[in-house]
Amino acid sequence: MTTRDRARRIGRAGMAVTLLGLAGLAGVYVRALVYTPVERSQGAAQKIFYVHVPAAWSALVAIAVTGLLSILYLWLKDRRIDLAAAASAEVGVAFATIMLTTGPIWGKPIWGTWWTWDARLTSTLFLFLLFVGYLVLRGVITDPGIRGRFSAVIGIMGLVLVPFIHLTVYLFRTLHPAPIVLKPSAPSLPGVMLVTLMSSLGVFTVLYVGFMMQRYALGLLRELREEELAGAAG
């Protein structure tokens, strides 16, 4: 089986996983909208929470994967590892965008403003910028070897940066408490809501994996195509 065939297989498997995830997502929507009780103080708007939090979670998973694969790439120098790291970054930027858009949508009816320098939103914003920087860097470098190595450097540094950003925002918030205390954290949730949240987290993880596989396959096929074109040109 050629590399191309293998890539196509992974792509198809990824598609299957994604479809499974989307089905799961539909299930989560139904559960969240119909079977989960409405939160008392925030009303229906609170239900965005079941998408907002898992999206943030997926974005974090994405950067962890990109970071770890970057370390692996510098060690093993296999271009497929680099392609996987890049795939994770792209999927990560998508999930970060979801988190950053659902946040304001949730916040507007409740806080009255579109944006607030809330701890998690701010952290995710910088995570988003990190992804964007990583992807733009990849965009301006033509040679795959250099691209892989430079991306890996950003990937590793980005991974180490994430806890520092969280710490910074946390320290900042404890000195400047938010006007409204919103606690979108799991432990204080009643059972029904917790289950919905957990299911959503599971579904989003499945979606992450599915998207990753498809994006990786696409990246690999593209790389093979570039090689072919260059070879034909002599």
């Binding site: 510098l74 860097l137 301006v140 190595r149 590793i156 540094m157 180490v160 520092f164 320290l171 000195l175």
Partner: protein
Amino acid sequence: MRELTRAAWHIAVKDLAIEWRTKTAFASGLVFAVLVLAVLFFSRDPTAVSSQDIAPGAIWVTFTFASMLGLNRAFLLEREQRALDGILLTPIPRTAVFWGKFVANLAFVGAIQAVSLPLFVLFYDVPIWARLPELVLVIVMATVAFVAVGTLLSAMVVRTRYAELMLPLLLLPFLVPPLVSGVQVTARLLEGRPLSDLSGWLRLIAGFDLAFVTLAASLFHVVLDE
């Protein structure tokens, strides 16, 4: 180890000699500092915002941009006649290039900061003299952070298209912890809070410095490869 130090030293001295000769980056840095300090000062509503409130932000924005100017210059000067290739053809360890550039960048930014700080006091009328040693400590710690990451990133982007755009884009997320810490600590110091109150922030910057200076030095050789 001694070879490393000596080579890094020669590189740092060479960089500073070149900057001293041309002075262009230093002059731009100074002009920039004055501009930023002045604009931020005059653009606020004096009845609503006291100069003390805006002062920490103003001085740190100045320092950040001055750092960027210094960083841009550092590897650009190597590109003109490919002098960096000349350095790579010598037997010095490659990390020496990082350390040499790092030290030169620190000196450059330090010089701009040393001139900006009195200007800052002049404009904003803030009581820095009482807290000067602690202020200098936090300034040094945060600057080490910017410059370490910036030295690594500037070496990386100097070769790409849109280098002047890529550096700030990539650097920005890394500036958040030291910059926010710097502003917060400066503000509290000027309010008269003791250093012990600020241990959280100081430990944050110290940890950041340790992590990123090590990381930048270790990853630097990857960036030199073609």
